[in-house]
Amino acid sequence: MTAITSYKTTASVHGGTAARTETLGIAAAILAGLALLFVAGISQASVVHGAAHDQRHAISFPCH
């Protein structure tokens, strides 16, 4: 019984760490996605705008 209880405790601790790591991963993915979206779709810096021009039109982002 004791062994099983301690196994459960260990498992739940590991589960908590994994969940926290996953939360961080999800947050990082969302931030990276928003940053790339800003570059691809919104930034008006002329180099970015020039590079993205055709793609913005083709993907129906407001371009200019």
Partner: protein, 231 residues
């Protein structure tokens, strides 16, 4: 876990970006290049009182830098969307949703509806030369329309429990809200290119975007690798 999330998103973005780029170069970019002939005045719609304007693209020309950048930006754009979709799938999986490639394709369709179709219903895809309202106002509306549409579709798709119908109705309301408010418009028409060309450009670019989103959803779901039998 995090590695898998990012790897899946990168593969999905690469696949969708390449599919989009190939389809764009066949179906969309030639129209865009033709639109530029009118934008720059090289071709004029209804010239000299004629009731006809010549149709047909001037050809893509072998501009490696320009077209290479377009392919690159397709990959960047769809990788951005894929990162957001893979993150959303991870959140949904935590809440008990089973993500299979088949369901991923439906995720892709829903993403297309929220991110492309709904904003396009207010601000249609613009052929070069189209004159619109002030850019920043359009970008603000566009981002708001995406956010409202994503929230609305998520409510409709994931509402559970006894009040699911009420949440779904609220979702419909969120979907409608940016359109009832209205996208920034100007009070007159400036169009210099043929309406036939603009219409074909708008529908084709949306169709290509839809295909790319479905590919992206299916690939992102595939790389989650948690597709076990339902239940």
């Amino acid at each position: 876990m995090t590695y898998r999330l990012f790897a899946g998103a990168l593969y999905a973005g690469l696949a969708a970006g390449l599919v989009a780029a190939v389809l764009q170069f066949v179906f969309v970019i030639p129209l865009l290049v033709e639109g530029e002939l009118f934008e720059t005045g090289m071709r004029v719609h209804f010239q000299d009182g004629s009731v006809q304007s010549p149709a047909g693209s001037g050809g893509l020309e072998f501009d490696l830098v320009r077209h290479g950048l377009t392919v690159g930006m397709a990959i960047v754009s769809y990788t951005a969307f894929a990162l957001l979709m893979s993150a959303s799938m991870a959140i949904a999986a935590r809440r008990g949703e089973v993500i299979t490639p088949r369901r991923g394709a439906v995720w892709g369709l829903a993403g297309f509806a929220a991110i492309a179709l709904s904003p396009a219903a207010g601000l249609p895809p613009e052929l070069p030369g189209t004159i619109g309202a002030e850019l920043v106002a359009r970008q603000v509306w566009w981002v708001a329309a995406m956010l409202f549409s994503v929230a609305g579709i998520a409510l409709i798709a994931f509402a559970r429990g006894p009040h699911a119908w009420a949440l779904a109705l609220a979702g419909l309301g969120l979907l409608l809200l940016p359109h009832l408010y209205g996208a920034p418009m100007i009070d007159r028409y400036y169009g210099i290119s043929p309406p036939e060309l603009s219409a074909l450009f708008a529908t084709r670019s949306l169709a290509v975007t839809a295909v790319a989103w479905v590919v992206m959803g299916a690939v992102a779901a595939h790389f989650r690798a948690d597709h076990r039998p339902a239940g």
